[in-house]
Symmetry: C3
Subunit: 310 residues, 3 copies
């Protein structure tokens, strides 16, 4: 596979500061790796001899596992570093911790941290590649890229589609990365949820804000049903989960009012019966598990592009 000439980055920190061309490059490379994943063995050892470190200062299972598998499918070694058993408890700074891991001989640091901007900070301080695996409510670029990849595979395009992000926009790094990425590729983005979770400020960027899900059903091509992140909320932003699902849950009745080829995405882990009913989550319009598979391909692409950059 030829290394794409337009890729010049050693870090993937977010989709806000990246061009449409670069996003398309990642998607195209990911399509190649998606094919690799379908073949026996599922490997292409382009990164043999490289070592990637999962530096997860916040708990995660699926993103860490997905990055770890992506690195191994490329032949790289992976070391897992989790905050719970780490030196951070001993008073060390995140930069010292990361520099220490790097000094052991690391080529890429995959960073999740509750503090927005921490991957950028580490990218400035370390010599190795840094990939953002989620920094607080700021960005989660590989999640958005896998969402966009899933959309592009279904519709063979992104431009001109209307994508509605439903739910907890305020706390969602996935939402933010999706907004930047989708708009760069020419999609029309609608943000939908209760006013406590969706700010009118987004309208200043020319993004439509809708407080009624029913009002956008018929003109949406893709629904991305964000998780209600109870663990991030101090004050409950809606009266009850029952009311939330009544107003914003995707169920079979609402689906009947959607376009025939509507695509249902959810970044997971899903709260069944809250953002989406089981009938919809497991139905033919849903691509929830395809998203997971595409996620490994996106992460292979991101790792290879950043690590092979000289």
């Amino acid at each position: 596979m030829n290394y794409p000439a337009n890729w010049k980055r050693r870090h993937l920190l977010g989709l806000e500061d990246i061009s449409a061309d670069e996003i398309i490059t990642i998607l195209d490379v990911a399509e190649h790796f998606r094919d690799v994943l379908e073949k026996p063995g599922r490997k292409e050892p382009l990164l043999a001899g490289k070592t990637c470190a999962n530096l997860f200062f916040e708990n995660s299972t699926r993103t860490k596992t997905s990055f770890g598998l992506a690195a191994r499918r490329l032949g790289a070694d992976v070391i897992d570093f989790s905050a719970a058993t780490s030196s951070l408890a001993k008073g060390e700074t995140i930069i010292d911790t990361a520099k220490n891991i790097e000094a052991m001989g690391i080529d890429a640091a995959i960073v999740r941290h509750s503090c927005p901007g921490s991957p950028k900070l580490l990218a400035e301080k370390l010599r190795c590649c840094v990939l953002n695996a989620g920094d607080g409510p700021h960005e989660h670029p590989t999640q958005a890229l896998l969402d966009i990849m899933t959309i592009r595979r279904r519709f063979n395009k992104v431009a001109g589609l209307t994508i509605t992000l439903v739910g907890d926009i305020a706390h969602s790094r996935t939402a933010r990365s999706n907004i930047w990425g989708l708009r760069k590729l020419g999609a029309n983005v609608i943000l939908c949820g209760p006013s406590t979770l969706v700010s009118r400020d987004w309208e200043k960027l020319g993004i439509e804000v809708a407080y009624s899900l029913d009002s956008v059903l018929g003109r949406t091509d893709v629904f991305n049903l964000l998780r209600i992140q109870f663990e991030r909320q101090v004050i409950r932003p809606f009266p009850s989960t029952r009311e939330y699902s009544h107003l914003y849950g995707m169920d079979i009745t609402r689906l009947a009012h959607c376009k025939k080829d509507v695509l249902i995405l959810a970044p997971g882990p899903i709260n069944r019966g809250l953002e989406v009913t089981p009938e919809v989550a497991d139905g033919t319009q849903s691509a929830i598990l395809e998203q997971v598979t595409n996620g490994v391909a996106i992460r292979m692409a991101a790792l290879w592009l950043c690590l092979e950059q000289k």
Copy 2:
């Protein structure tokens, strides 16, 4: 090595629903891998390119490590998923969690869960192979198979032997899997322990129940000394550990009343001085560490048989 013609399963869920012929097939294949483990390198990469996931919803060190090593000895990749850091805490169902891991490109899920039947449920819902690594008090087939393998290696047979399972039959998945497996192979099984831990109901299946260990010493070929699982018991089923060891602990005095070639097994981790005294656990009749080594061979056999099934 030739794939055995009589093996048709993609899952290993328990020994209750499996035939004597199939059990013998696993044991025979495991003997082959036992030889591989004695050779330098200890590997036979029959599963190169495959990925196994340890899906442990209950804590475990030794079973998880044993399965992980078995997979790696066969050249497979292994990913570890533990419940403590998982999405389950975020309200996801076990099926969604497993389907997500599977969608990342998993060929086999090795499942431990506190709920009986959960591996069977996952086998119905997933496309990948499922191996039961312990489901509550229900079954723990690879533990029973490694016990039976250790017996067969010592006596060159299983049929006709008398095996006494001692202790906490009520809470023990190991006991249940041993009962099904041993009886299918023609062994005579005795269940021995306090009446609070050994139900008379087993007699309905034609299994002997003994409340006195001393009464069966002279006619038992193999003692399998089950762990008192304090962590599973709500009510203490006997007055004191001192009384338990007095009545059911295997010590040097009791050993003197056993057959000369008696075999002492214990699934571990053992409570020294409770189920078994150090002199017996470390003595020549004991095969406790052989069991551990055989466990890796059994798990290699189970993984290879299930994963190579088309």
Copy 3:
């Protein structure tokens, strides 16, 4: 690479019982692996087919990661065993736990435990190699070896140099291993810290004890700034961290009174502003990150020497 004729050990338990020649052998072998780590791929698969187990009964991230990477750079498999999820909670002895892991087919056990002497105990009871990764306040040989390697690389010698260990000598296994190792190689060791952390008893061994850091600045070639291990101390051994850093912290003012080519080491994780100020830690005299890199090389050397011993 030729196996050194003077190495006869299968275990590395500490530096107190090892000869100067053996220490030099480890350092020389480590220099070879240091070169390997600079090359693309960073691997020399001398231990392919071997399996190392990290048996960490105390939490650790960096030492465990460093040993794990060292083993993988040599082509060995690594299994991680941590006490938190282990059978120890079920009442098993450390020897039974270790023997069980060994019976799964382990060639080396890398042991960290809070109890002094536990690696030695395991070395007597197991057939596999045992490497001490820190046993309470007793020894931490690979940490001292990487400190000494860093010193030797900077000065091209160790004999005749004056090395001052600053801080918490009483609780520090790193200090003890450094004292044994440095003195065997002919260095002059000074122990410096508050009297609550540095005993006058060391003077009986002919080691200088200094309670004033300022008094030794001008005649020290290497400062090794030990961590104040708050987590090991029951009673606070000094009135405040402010007073400690005032009396024993290495800052830019003190550095100005040091020799021009003074070397600053710290085993980390460092408490910035306590033992050392950021200006000094990140300055040209500091070799804190070199220590980390050398640590991987030292552990590769220790693993290869012990595991290849027949």
